[in-house]
């Protein structure tokens, strides 16, 4: 019965604040796949990805009061939260640090290959598309989106002015927008 229900974001926020089982069911049904997709772009080990998904849901559940609609949509908030949780996990495992040392010629497909357990889906689809971008865009999207570098860190690591990092990121996003707008 509840499967056919659809909630607006405002309704869902209210529902989540009530912390009911229904709210969880709805949240999981509609968002788990998207969040898991984002997470598996960052951490490719399945076991770790599962942990991150769980952590992300618990955070959403416990911090829903902190969500501020003026700052963006619930969806965006959840996507960023999931991505940041994944990046934190990656950093705590030291993988980012390794990557940082090798930085300068981030090879997206390589970094994928070095990980042991690949998730057998088209998880690398986005990475593939990103790797089709111009190299100077690709590296920025990779660092910002998949590895969680701050703009400042990207600017310093690549030795590119902060303003250029931002405009390149916009160009990359424009291109991706084109690719994904059905």
């Amino acid at each position: 019965m509840e499967n056919v229900k659809t909630y607006s974001e405002e309704e869902l926020v209210l529902l989540l604040k009530q912390q009911s089982r229904d709210a969880f069911n709805y949240l999981y049904k509609n968002y788990a796949g998207v969040l898991y997709g984002v997470i598996t772009k960052v951490v490719t080990d399945e076991h770790t990805a599962n942990d991150v998904l769980q952590e992300a849901f618990v955070k959403i559940w416990n911090n829903i009061k902190m969500y501020d609609a003026a700052k963006g949509r619930l969806y965006t908030w959840m996507l960023n939260l999931a991505r940041n949780t994944a990046i934190d996990k990656l950093r705590s495992k030291g993988e980012i640090m390794k990557g940082k040392i090798q930085m300068g010629e981030t090879d997206v497909s390589n970094s994928g290959n070095t990980r042991k357990t690949e998730i057998s889906t088209d998880a690398i689809g986005l990475r593939k598309i990103v790797s089709g971008l111009r190299p100077e865009y690709e590296v920025i999207v990779d660092m910002a989106y998949f590895k969680g570098y701050t703009l400042d860190e990207i600017s310093k690591t690549l030795n590119v002015p902060l303003g250029t990092v931002k405009t390149r990121m916009r160009s990359a996003m424009q291109q991706l927008r084109g690719e994904f707008s059905n």
């Binding site: 003026a70 960023n80 998880a123 990121m169 916009r170 994904f180």
Partner: protein, 279 residues
């Protein structure tokens, strides 16, 4: 504000991704609230990211749903009261029935431990605070002492200068500089003499500290004969301290200081007269 240029700057993308510093996030948010064109573009970027995310959705392993719900429950239940059994059951939490007895023992044990640990912690904290305060107050006392010492010294100096100033201001005050009488030994002392009042003050800033067991003695020459004016404290030697001469001195042709054995002598040892000055 150039809206088009702002859009091209890439700030909105960074904002949507949440990767700007806190202050800039707030700034972009304010711009978005103010300029509808920016809000529209930001929404388009959000859409794009959502589209990408949806296109890339991956179904989690089926067991994850229950696992996550369990984790949420585990984190959500601790605030429940023990007595709130019904509510806990509604939430689907596992309730272990405890016999009243067991419950009692466990809770009282736990309470005792908690109290003990708490009290130990407090004791340690207070002991530490106390010892810190003692240390601090000791240090403070030492500082106060040294400040008081310094103050007394300064007061003495000021007092001395005041005396000196008053003396100088006295028109009748005569200054007699006593010069060395020992060749090759540059020494000097000063005597301030108010003949009318029969008062004299002496300063031994140009005399070395006397050796142990010796003391300076002041003489006034009256009718060619030295008259004892008293011994001078050793602490005055080589300082600018001024001391009033203990005996009245209404007349005299000259003043002299000799080094004598401690306590003084009735008549000066001639070869030990260090300085002399005529009035």
């Amino acid at each position: 504000m150039d809206i088009a240029a702002y859009i091209e700057s890439g700030n909105l993308e960074a904002f949507v991704l949440g990767i700007l510093p806190e202050t800039e996030m707030a700034q972009v948010q304010a711009y978005i609230a103010r300029y509808p064109e920016l809000a529209k573009e930001a929404a388009a970027i959000e859409d794009a990211l959502l589209n990408i995310a949806m296109a890339e959705a991956v179904t989690p392993p089926p067991e994850m749903k229950d696992k996550i719900w369990g984790a949420i429950q585990a984190k959500a239940t601790p605030h429940l009261e023990i007595s709130d059994k019904e509510a806990a059951e509604k939430q689907g939490a596992l309730i272990l029935p405890l016999s009243p007895n067991m419950r009692h023992t466990r809770f009282s044990q736990a309470a005792v431990w908690a109290a003990l640990v708490g009290s130990l912690a407090l004791n340690t904290m207070f002991w530490y605070q106390n010892s810190q305060q003692k240390k601090e107050s000791l240090a403070m006392n030492t500082r106060m002492d040294s400040m008081q010492n310094n103050q007394q010294k300064l007061l003495a100096v000021v007092d001395n200068y005041t005396k000196g100033k008053n003396m100088m201001a006295d028109n009748d005050m005569q200054t007699i500089v006593m010069h060395t009488v020992l060749k090759g030994h540059p020494m000097a002392a000063t005597l301030y003499w108010s003949k009318d009042k029969a008062e004299a003050y002496v300063m031994m800033d140009g005399l070395p500290e006397p050796p142990k067991g010796m003391q300076y003695q002041l003489w006034v020459m009256q009718d060619g004969k030295p008259v004892d004016m008293g011994v001078l404290p050793n602490t005055m030697a080589n300082t600018a301290l001024i001391q009033k001469v203990g005996k009245p001195v209404g007349r005299g042709e000259a003043f002299a200081i000799s080094l004598e054995k401690e306590g003084g002598v009735p008549s000066p040892t001639m070869e030990n007269i260090y300085v002399m000055g005529k009035s």
